[in-house]
């Protein structure tokens, strides 16, 4: 019994021990499992975190992409758009369905379909450029790069595209091209020859330049400036070029000769201007040339003409002096001989002879007046005295002093007379001839001559009025012509008023007369404020 008990007890003991062992193993496994689970949990959490991170990163990229991003299924239904795409097309696919076909510009449809085929077969296309309809911005021109997205079985499931709006870029390009065209139209049609050079080498020319030189554009591109210049002249302008390179000057102008394709030479005015880089070094030189061969020829002719004119003017002036001298000398001899006849034969000659001799002397006298008058008339515009300030009231006072005024004639200066810039001799002649005439021809018992002046806009108007015999209207123009006299008095040569007219005309003024026969005459003349 006790044995049995003992056995039982030992068996129980063993069983207990085995269970304990099993329990121990289970416990261990459990712990292992727990730990594993914990580990898995951690890994999972980490993975999830990573995924979220990546997703939001990608979202960020989409969102911040400047270019529009569009994802669509194979049928063209848009699945996804980034912010830029929404902005560009004006659609929100969360609110409305959008198929890409709806966006294709009608005229570009065919091209779009061809490109789509390319996408399907090749898996991508790039540099697609076409117009699209947008909801709010009208038709825009876009540039697209696209590619297919495949699943694991390599079947295409979607397509994605990066879309860039290039409408404005194109517009800018168009404007740029337009301006370029306008500029080249100006350059090409300019009558000035224009050439762009760099370091003496011709790199661009316009049509006028080619025509002037007689070369084709391509021939010119093979040339250097010195090939179309005369050697010594090229060296001369080379010094200017050096100054330009050194930054001393930015442009210069020379008259130089050019050698044409056929070897002939022409003169051209040449303006050279520097086009500089930012650092100030020369980028190009722009040369503008103008053919002045003809102009120079004209100038030469003109100079020659002026010289000839000066010469003949001088000759004429000398001629007047020589002729007057040659004519005056015999008159002096005649006067002397006539005077001697009268003196030496006074007793012998009868009254008749004396009369004849006196008449002869008078004629000699008149002849002398005529010659003096012609000389004066001829030289009035020849001798050029420097302009001075001339006080006309002094001039008139001098004249009244110098010329003989009979007692019955009064000369009155009714207004103030201005100070005028001019030639004293001419102004004196002018007043003296008019006042002198008024005195000489006055036929009234009480002669009255009035000198006055009135200021007009930019000139002075002078009047010299007398109460003399008057001048018939039919002679009002004639009296100003040379040798025209209305009087047969001996002293009357018909030169005085022609000198008056010549002086007034010389000073850009006018002279005219108003008169009533028997009552008097008023001479008017104008002188510019500045003469």
């Amino acid at each position: 019994m006790s044995n049995e008990l003992e056995i039982l007890q030992r068996a129980l003991q063993r069983e207990k021990a085995a269970r304990k062992q099993a329990e121990q193993i289970l416990e261990g496994k459990s712990r292992e499992l727990y730990l594993l689970t914990q580990e898995l949990k951690d890994v999972n959490a980490k993975l999830e975190e990573g995924l979220t991170e990546k997703t939001s990163e990608l979202q960020g990229v989409f969102g911040n992409l400047v270019d529009a991003y569009v994802l669509m299924d194979i049928s063209g239904n848009v699945i996804k758009m980034n912010h830029s795409a929404e902005e560009l097309f004006g659609y929100d696919i969360n609110k409305e369905q959008l198929n890409i076909v709806k966006l294709i510009y009608k005229e570009d449809y065919e091209y779009a379909m061809t490109s789509f085929q390319e996408l399907i077969f090749k898996g991508s296309f790039s540099d697609y450029q076409a117009r699209v309809y947008t909801k709010h911005k009208g038709v825009r021109t876009v540039h697209i790069n696209a590619s297919l997205i495949h699943n694991k079985k390599n079947q295409p499931i979607a397509a994605q595209g990066i879309v860039r709006d290039i409408t404005e870029e194109l517009e800018r390009k168009r404007i740029f091209e337009e301006q370029k065209k306008q500029l080249s139209a100006i350059v090409e049609n300019s009558s000035l020859g224009i050439a762009l050079t760099r370091f003496g080498k011709i790199i661009q020319t316009n049509k006028a330049f080619q025509n002037l030189l007689g070369y084709t554009p391509d021939e010119l591109l093979q040339k250097e400036v010195k090939n179309i210049s005369l050697k010594d002249e090229y060296e001369k302008s080379a010094s200017n070029m050096q100054k330009m390179n050194d930054g001393e000057i930015n442009n210069f102008s020379v008259n130089k000769r050019y050698v044409k394709q056929d070897g002939t030479i022409f003169w051209a005015k040449t303006n050279v201007a520097a086009v500089r880089n930012e650092d100030g070094s020369i980028k190009y030189q722009v040369a503008l040339i103008e053919d002045i061969t003809e102009q120079l020829e004209f100038e030469k002719q003109r100079d020659q003409l002026v010289k000839n004119l000066e010469k003949s003017n001088k000759e004429l002036n000398d001629y007047a002096h020589i002729v007057s001298h040659d004519l005056k000398s015999p008159l002096r001899s005649m006067n002397a001989l006539l005077t001697w006849l009268k003196e030496d034969y006074e007793e012998i000659l009868d009254d008749n002879a004396h009369n004849s001799l006196n008449m002869l002397l008078k004629k000699v006298d008149k002849m002398d007046h005529l010659i003096s008058g012609i000389l004066k008339y001829a030289s009035i515009d020849k001798v050029d005295h420097p302009k001075q300030n001339i006080a006309l009231h002094e001039i008139v006072a001098d004249i009244i002093d110098v010329i003989h005024i009979p007692d019955h004639i009064t000369i009155e200066v009714a207004t103030e007379l201005p100070i005028i810039q001019g030639d004293k001799f001419r102004l004196q002649q002018l007043f003296q001839n008019l006042i002198g005439n008024a005195v000489k021809y006055n036929d009234k018992e009480q002669g009255l001559i009035t000198v006055s002046c009135e200021q007009k806009e930019d000139f002075w108007q002078f009047t010299i009025a007398d109460n003399g015999p008057g001048i018939s209207k039919k002679y009002h123009d004639k009296i100003f012509q040379i040798f025209q006299t209305l009087d047969d008095k001996n002293e009357s040569t018909g030169i005085g008023l022609s000198i008056v007219k010549k002086i007034v005309v010389l000073y850009d003024g006018q002279v005219w007369v108003e008169s009533e026969e028997g009552k008097g005459t008023t001479f008017y003349f104008t002188l510019k404020n500045k003469i």
Partner: protein
Amino acid sequence: MGLTFLLIEDDEIERLKFTRVLQKNNYNHTLIEAENGEKALEFLESNKELPDLIFLDLNMPKMNGLEFLKILKSNPALRYTPVVILSTSNNHNDLKESYEIGIAGYIVKPLKYEDYADKIKCLIEYWSVNELIKR
């Protein structure tokens, strides 16, 4: 004391006029006449006695008055003899050029003989009271 004048004048009547003025005024001056510049120079260069005064016409054939004057003034022996121009020309250039070369006077011949006689009389009386270089 009588002076010696050299009158250089191509016109015979002009020479007669001058002579008549001397005669009518009873001057005891001596008058030497030359028809032109060449003859005057010939006389001056050959004669030891120089005239006290030269009266010179400007407008003469061959050598004219100004040409004569230039030669005279460039000759050291002759340049101190005063020259008075007698001319019908009052041309500014003639006057200026004459004074530039060197003259002692310039008389414009008037038309009337009476006026001429007056002028010459004044002229001679003026020079009669002048001190002149004697050689």
